[in-house]
Amino acid sequence: MAEPSTPPPAAAATSGLAGLEERLFVFFDKRSRRRLVQGLLVLAAVSIPLVGDSYLLEILTNSFFYIVLCLGLNIVVGYAGLLDLGYAAFFAVGAYTTGILTSQFDWNFWLTIPAAVFFSIIAGVIIGGPTLRLRSDYLAIVTLGFGEITRIAARNLKELTGGASGLIGINRPSFFGLELNQIHHYYYVFFILVLLAVFVSFRLQHSRLGRAWQYVREDEDAAEAMGIDRVAVKLYAYVIGAVFAGVAGCFFAGKMTAISPETFQFMQSATILMAVVLGGMGKIPGMIVGALALILFPEIFREIGSVRMLVFGVVLVMMMIFRPQGIWPERRN
């Protein structure tokens, strides 16, 4: 089938919303303007704890945490075009690694991070290795199964994980003698994590590997014909995404000091996926917008409570049909 040629920019700029979008793209085309806006945003984020109350900080810290998870899932879904429905499992792997090692083996919090990275990689290779050789739909359902396995294992391995009631008394991290126990400490910790995640995502996106992901996502067969090892490239995406979630999970466990298997239900994975789709798959600012929207929406509309996921489901379907590129799409020429 012949692809319709891309419409000329003038035609795209005629309608209201598309015109605004186009003008925004043109505005941010200049590197100096982008840098200025980014600098202002960082400055604003750094100074919020000076003025905001603890409720606001709690919500923003939570949003930062979801931004990291979204950036991680974005590598799998956005960059490589693979559907992962068990992403919460990797977050569980990180959280439980930290939880078990600090509360039962008395490890230092910071030493558990490399351990969590190690276990996330192992889990990613076990799940991704066999399934990524097949059609990518299989990955979706196998990851769904893996999410369930992880949750059931966390519930059944009672000696290690505390069973259904979970683990309590996880050591809080301390930083050069300062125990991190205030909300603004965690605000900054998660903010630094976001900056790191954004930096890593950005560098990956513009690396050789990032271009390979894009190629595989757009046309797998052509990519393979060009000499890209598609299985290896997809596995990298899957494992790197797993590591993001694993590290985020460590800090989650450190902040909460208690974790239970029910935190890592399918709904958790679906929520993260929802934020990624909402923000616009493949775009770093989109992930930030998506995660913020996802956390702030239920805070603002408190009364919707139980119908929240129903609304998410409807929005997910509508987004894919009417605006598959998300709120903040990637500009494609």
Binding site: V77, G81, L82, L83, L85, I127, P130, T131, R133, L134, R135, S136, D137, Y138, A140, I141, V142, L144, G145, F146, E148, I149, I152, A153, N156, D221, F266, A270, L273, V277, M281, S306, V307, M309, L310, F312, G313, V314, V315, L316, V317, M320, I321, P324
Partner: protein, 304 residues
């Protein structure tokens, strides 16, 4: 209990469980065969089927009683209603995206699944509902094993549905069209087959089979709740893969096999009931490593 008793007991349990898996797996496999979509919402269709059956039976049982006389017409009504629901979902959510990238339609399927089970959750306030059937426990006792008539009727009903489906696919012109579309959709369009109509019909048949399984599960377990479709969706997918996804006899065989494996698996000392789901998913992963085409599946030849 002797070894023989345990074998008979687990054989019965496995056949019942396998019947449910097979009926749901058929829908997965049919839809996958025809439009290459993993319909994540299919497990939730089964759940909705159980709830629709629950509502219909509540009304019908006042007229015809809560025995099989009331259950069978309720089941048929529920199958029809849920079949139309399947067609509606296909029309609204999947059809606009048939030519879009694969990822989009998979995400939509996840969205549909969220919509279905959250709607039921909101309506039922997340509570378990007791299924209003009044079947007794009469049956045949063999040694220490008691097999109820209900269990026999269920396995029988599953067999009837499967034979009917087989005849439909093999003998009717609609079945022929389905088989043709799964081979080459574009060629079918050129031959004058109304492809959209046949896809809708596939969703109707698949959804109504899942609804039949849902109603039977309600009768069998006695209670239903909004999350019951999630795990069975995964298991039915596993069954479809065991049999070879896209293959109709494969889905039937795979479901029965998984049901039996799971029942006997719970007898293994290191599996037990706590780990039975892990056992099934572990099986799926192993299968995908060693024989992704399943027992009756054909090797897929990728064409550029």
């Amino acid at each position: 209990m002797t070894i023989l008793d345990i074998i008979i007991q687990q054989l019965t349990n496995g056949l019942i469980l396998g019947s449910f898996y097979s009926l749901v797996a058929l829908g997965y496999s049919m839809v996958y065969g025809i439009i290459k979509l993993l319909n994540f919402a299919h497990g939730d269709i089964y759940m909705v089927g159980a709830f629709v059956g629950f509502v219909i039976l509540s009304f019908v049982s006042t007229l015809l009683g809560d025995g099989w006389l009331g259950i069978l017409p309720s089941m048929i009504l529920a199958m029809t209603a849920v079949g139309f629901l399947g067609v509606l979902i296909q029309r609204i959510a999947y059809r606009p995206l048939l030519s879009a990238p694969r990822l989009s339609i998979l995400i939509v399927a996840v969205g549909v699944s969220l919509v279905l089970f959250n709607s039921v959750m909101v309506v039922t306030i997340g509570e378990y509902k007791a299924f209003p059937s009044g079947l007794g426990y009469e049956g045949i006792t063999m040694g220490h094993v008691h097999i109820t008539y209900t269990q026999m009727v269920m396995v029988g009903a599953t067999a009837v549905l499967m034979i009917a489906l087989h005849l439909f696919i093999a003998k009717t012109i609609y079945g022929k069209a389905m088989r043709a579309i799964s081979i080459d959709m574009d060629a079918c369009r050129l031959m004058g087959i109304d492809v959209n109509k046949i896809i809708a019909l596939t969703f109707f048949v698949g959804s109504s089979l899942a609804a039949a399984a849902g109603v039977m599960a309600g009768v069998y377990y006695g209670s239903i709740h909004f999350f019951m479709g999630f795990v069975i969706g995964l298991k039915a997918f596993t069954s479809a893969v065991i049999g070879g996804i896209g293959s109709i006899p494969g889905a039937m065989l795979g479901g029965l096999l998984l049901g039996l494996l799971e029942s006997f698996g719970t007898q293994l000392p290191w599996v037990g009931t706590e780990w039975k789901d892990v056992f099934a998913f572990g099986l799926l992963i192993l299968l995908l490593v060693f024989k992704p085409t399943g027992i009756l599946g054909r090797t897929e030849i990728e064409r550029m």
